[in-house]
């Protein structure tokens, strides 16, 4: 009797297991979106998911996020999933080399030309952007937004109180620096390591100009040459005017912005997701509660990065994902997401279709997007592949440890060769 009962128990457990396994495989009707838009950038994604849900009511949307600014942690999780054969239906990735150099060359993404032609997106997105998204004739992702990397944030009320103005070039900033320090204020606040890299690319752009910057990636600018040495020397002087030796390593980018708003620091260089943070989370008004200028020396240049979504070649719910991508690239989708995110739509016709949705900063950024010279961001995956970005952290550390611009430029040259990111090197 006892053995028969235990046999029944074991059989019952087995049946439950098998049933569980079978039902877990039934994934049609799901859509898993993998991104790093958690925390302050979350509301925008949720609005987009709600829009998708109203258009596709019988699909269960799974919002899989991994926190960490600029996706530093999300990418690791994504790689284990892709290598393990468990791809999400669609994942957030920076448009440009981060997608191309990692996933497209690995034949893991499906060509989306058919979708672009069907939706008329070749006319809706700017040609420069389409050129960078195209790899060997195919186009592999749908850009949702455009962020600007080279923006300098300040607190207008505090600046007026102290009597400073936003500097026009990096030399002006370095000249203004002692005056700011005498007022007991940190001239430029930086946060943890990736924000220091972010500052670097604005400094480099300010010193090299758009042609010099593009020349790094095409091979025309010698990474070990005198121009790059000048960039690193300027960067060193800028860092001396910052809180790098104080508490920088412990600050997130939001905490650095908080210092500017609180009046403890004068300026901060961050991408314009800071505008989303200050408008939506802190509730400040653009131009009044916070001020924005092009980073010194980069007026007239728009250093862009774009969050985009693609279609993995073995996505479990391909039709749902194509519907998602359609929503993303549509006028309504871009106008739902971008006002909350604090970015401008990638589509050129979006802001003019609904100008009231966009605050003063976004309107000015959109005007710049249409008129300025466009260059790709290094730190956010547009200009260089992941190997370069990873080794670039080492280059920055060499600079911070040695203080030697020549040694660092040499290191950058080595990284260029090893990663193959500097066009023909």
């Amino acid at each position: 009797m006892k053995s028969r009962l235990s046999l029944l128990l074991v059989l019952g457990l087995l049946a439950t297991l098998v049933g569980g396994v079978i039902s877990a495989q039934d994934t049609s009707g799901e859509l898993e979106i993998f991104s790093w838009w958690a925390g302050d950038e979350g509301p925008a994604l949720e609005a987009l998911l709600e829009l998708y849900a109203t258009e596709n009511p019988d699909v269960e949307v799974i919002n899989a996020t991994v926190t960490g600014g600029s996706g530093v942690n999300a990418r690791a999780v994504l790689k284990t999933r892709m290598l393990g054969g468990d791809p999400p239906d669609s994942f957030q990735v920076h448009a440009g080399e981060e997608l191309t150099g990692t996933w497209v060359v690995a034949d893991r993404m499906e060509d989306l030309t058919f979708l672009y032609e069907e939706q008329g997106w070749f006319e809706a997105f700017p040609q420069d952007l389409i050129d960078l998204l195209t790899y060997e004739g195919g186009i592999y992702s749908v850009p949702v937004n455009i962020h600007r990397s080279n923006v300098m944030w300040s607190n207008p009320a505090k600046l007026e109180e102290w009597g400073f103005e936003a500097p026009a070039t990096w030399d002006d900033f370095l000249a203004l620096c002692p005056t700011i320090q005498e007022a007991g204020v940190v001239p430029l606040v930086v946060g943890e390591a990736w924000t220091q890299n972010h500052l670097f690319e604005s400094v480099a752009l300010g010193v090299l100009g758009a042609d010099g910057w593009n020349g790094i990636w095409s091979g025309e600018t010698d990474p070990a040459g005198p121009e790059m040495v000048a960039v690193f020397e300027t960067f060193g002087k800028v860092l001396e005017c910052s809180n790098i030796s104080d508490d920088a390593s412990g600050l997130s980018w939001q905490q650095a912005i908080d210092k500017v708003i609180a009046g403890e620091a004068a300026f901060n260089i961050m991408g314009d997701w800071a505008a989303g943070y200050m408008t939506t989370t802190l509730g400040l008004e653009p131009g009044v509660g916070y001020g924005y200028n092009a980073a010194p020396g980069t007026d007239g240049i728009f250093m862009w990065l774009s969050d985009s979504f693609g279609l993995p070649a073995d996505a479990p719910n391909r039709d749902n994902t194509i519907a998602w991508l359609t929503t993303l690239g549509s006028l309504e989708g871009q106008n739902t997401f971008n006002p909350l995110k604090g970015s401008i739509p990638a589509r050129v016709d979006a802001v003019s279709a609904a100008p009231d949705l966009y605050n003063a900063y976004l309107q000015s950024a959109s005007a710049d997007w249409a008129e300025n010279t466009l260059v790709g961001s290094l730190v956010h995956g547009a200009a260089a592949n992941e190997r370069f970005m990873g080794d670039f952290n080492q280059v920055m550390e060499i600079f911070l440890a040695s203080g030697s611009a020549e040694a660092t430029a040499n290191a950058m040259s080595v990284v260029c060769i090893q990663s193959g990111a500097c066009g023909g090197m």
């Binding site: 690791a76 550390e397 440890a401």
Partner: protein
């Protein structure tokens, strides 16, 4: 007497675990070693994340690369960091654990409560500990402003985890020389030990070993064997220079977490000493301190040894504490476990990450395997 049938059934009972261990432990170790001898992720022509990536055999090139390449200075820094972290962590845990155990041995009131309080940190995960201590060791808050808030003194001016100070400076190129001196010293002590016990053959071997090492040192062979660094000029600037002060905060957090464990082991050990020994010592006129110094501590040697082994292998593999406290981008506190993560999953250099992992495995084996072997021999 076990019958044959019993032994077969016993073997079958253990078989699933054996198979699982063979596959998931030794099989994967073998795969890691194999990956470390390939060029997966290092070959620009082969995208590392492709479905059908072609990996070629490159022998020990990855190991040479992480020891000599200019851009891989993080790995050499991580070796130096691990060395200092291990020493201070193990010694710290042993000392604190021993002191706590001796205090609790005094038959205090509420001993059970104190024991629980001291053991409690061990129940936390390293991530929780790391996050708590990260907040406490903020440069502009936490512990640094405590003197100011409590006593009105100046706040402490130390960056803790963000500090770039270096203590106990040394030159990376001189490391083989230091290791040689250290090895000669150890063997010399053992030779004297053997000689005093009359084991002449063993002491002769020891003397021969010392002579050989001395000759190698004086011939300058280390300079050729200790792989020369590429880009020596830059490396001289960024090579490990000493004990990074940023590790101090992490050591404190780790000792806080694990000293309860050593305390528990010591309490068990102290309780295991028969009371007759202590009585006999008291009868012979030994003071209480003398009892602890001459009777209790020597009896605790096996416990000290096993605690050192366990703590040593924890510190060699440490990852989550450092990640939570200092983040993955802090070059002063980088450890090999972090580097496996960074090189593997950020830079897609899977072969190099495997090489670092295999080196970690080697170091841990050097500690664990002799210990296990001596334990097995004892049981037999």
């Amino acid at each position: 007497m076990r019958s044959r049938k019993d032994r077969v059934i016993a073997f079958l009972m253990v078989l699933p675990s054996l198979v699982a261990i063979y596959i998931f432990v030794y099989g994967f170790i073998g795969q890691a070693i194999q990956t470390s001898t390939s060029d997966w992720g290092s070959n620009p022509a082969q995208p590392p994340l492709a479905v059908n990536v072609v990996k070629s055999y490159v022998g020990l090139q990855n190991y040479e690369n992480i020891m000599t390449d200019m851009l891989e200075f993080s790995f050499r820094n991580s070796l130096a960091n691990t060395f200092f972290f291990t020493i201070f962590f193990v010694v710290g845990c042993l000392v604190v654990g021993l002191v706590l155990a001796l205090l609790l041995d005094q038959n205090v009131v509420g001993e059970g409560i104190f024991r629980t309080i001291f053991l409690f940190p061990m129940a936390l995960s390293f991530v929780v500990t790391g996050t708590i201590w990260r907040w406490m060791l903020q440069p502009n808050g936490g512990i640094n402003i405590l003197p100011q808030q409590l006593f009105g003194l100046d706040p402490i001016d130390f960056g803790w985890v963000n500090s770039r100070d270096v203590l106990f400076p040394f030159e990376w190129g001189q490391v083989p020389t230091y290791l040689t001196y250290f090895g000669i010293a150890i063997i010399a002590i053992m030779v004297v030990n053997f000689a005093m016990k009359g084991r002449w053959r063993a002491s002769q071997y020891g003397v021969i070993a010392i002579v050989i090492m001395g000759l190698v040192l004086m011939a300058g062979l280390w300079d050729k064997i200790w792989l020369p660094l590429d880009e020596a000029a830059t490396e001289a600037i960024i090579a490990p220079k000493g004990f990074n002060a940023a590790l101090i905060g992490i050591i404190i957090a780790a000792v806080w977490q694990m000293s309860g464990y050593t305390m528990a082991m010591f309490i068990a050990g102290i309780r295991g000493i028969p009371e007759e020994l202590r009585e006999a010592a008291r009868v012979d006129g030994c003071s209480e301190i003398g009892i602890y110094w001459r009777i209790v501590l020597p009896q605790l040697n096996p416990i000290i040894l096993s605690a050192m082994i366990i703590l040593g292998h924890i510190s060699l593999k440490i990852f989550d504490l450092v990640f939570a406290m200092a983040g993955p981008d802090n070059a002063q506190t980088v450890v090999p476990g972090l580097l496996v993560y960074i090189e593997g999953f950020r830079e897609n250099s899977f072969a190099r990450a495997s090489a670092i992992a295999v080196i970690m495995l080697f170091f841990v084996s050097v500690i664990i395997v002799p210990y296990l072997w001596s334990q097995l021999r004892e049981e037999v």
